[in-house]
């Protein structure tokens, strides 16, 4: 997945990338693995600048799914920081750029929540539930949003 030029560019643009090798850096892998509860590879963690985990990708995923996951993680980090508009923008990016990935339904859900948090307007949730009737209707996230239907 890393030879993909889109992945290289995305990671270079958005993160400070650190690789810890399970065998070549065994003691560091053990130290950080215990700190973050990561005991298998590949595991990718998105960390806020203070070192707190904001998103995790476990196991191999193809490039489009990885890009979607990493973008979802940026949205989650913004959401945790209560930057609702920025969070919604990242979640919408997942929907626009990677609509066929497994992450898209989750992004649709959180885009709605972010818009609601930004506006305090419950119609954002109802509109999200309605959107799930048109796409990703079989997803877990569609079920979670069903409570918002008007």
């Amino acid at each position: 997945m890393y030879p993909d030029e889109r992945v290289v560019r995305f990671i270079t643009d958005h993160f400070i990338p650190v690789r810890v090798h399970v065998r070549d850096q065994a003691s560091e892998f053990q130290r950080l693995g215990e700190r973050y509860g990561a005991h298998w590879t590949p595991t990718i963690l998105e960390l806020a600048p203070d070192g707190t985990e904001t998103h995790r990708v476990e196991g191999f995923v193809e490039a489009p799914e990885l890009l979607a996951q990493l973008t979802l993680g940026l949205g989650e980090a913004a959401f945790k920081a209560k930057n609702w508009r920025e969070a919604e923008r990242h979640f919408q990016d997942v929907l626009t750029r990677y609509p066929e990935t497994d992450s898209a339904a989750e992004a649709l859900y959180w885009a709605g929540v972010s818009r609601y948090r930004a506006t305090n307007d419950a119609s954002a949730l109802a509109e999200t539930a309605a959107a799930f009737e048109k796409r990703y209707s079989d997803s877990t996230w569609a079920k979670k949003s069903s409570i918002w239907k008007e």
Binding site: P17, V18, D24, E46
Partner: protein, 32 residues
């Protein structure tokens, strides 16, 4: 174009704090 991976986590995190930039930590078994 390749990812310029760092291998000193603590230094990278320190840099992340100073630059207010998130860190991507990759636990890998791939050949280095």
């Amino acid at each position: 174009m390749e990812i310029q991976w760092r291998h000193d986590f603590d230094e990278a995190l320190k840099d992340g704090r100073e630059r207010k930039k998130p860190v991507l930590l990759d636990f890998s078994a791939a050949p280095m």
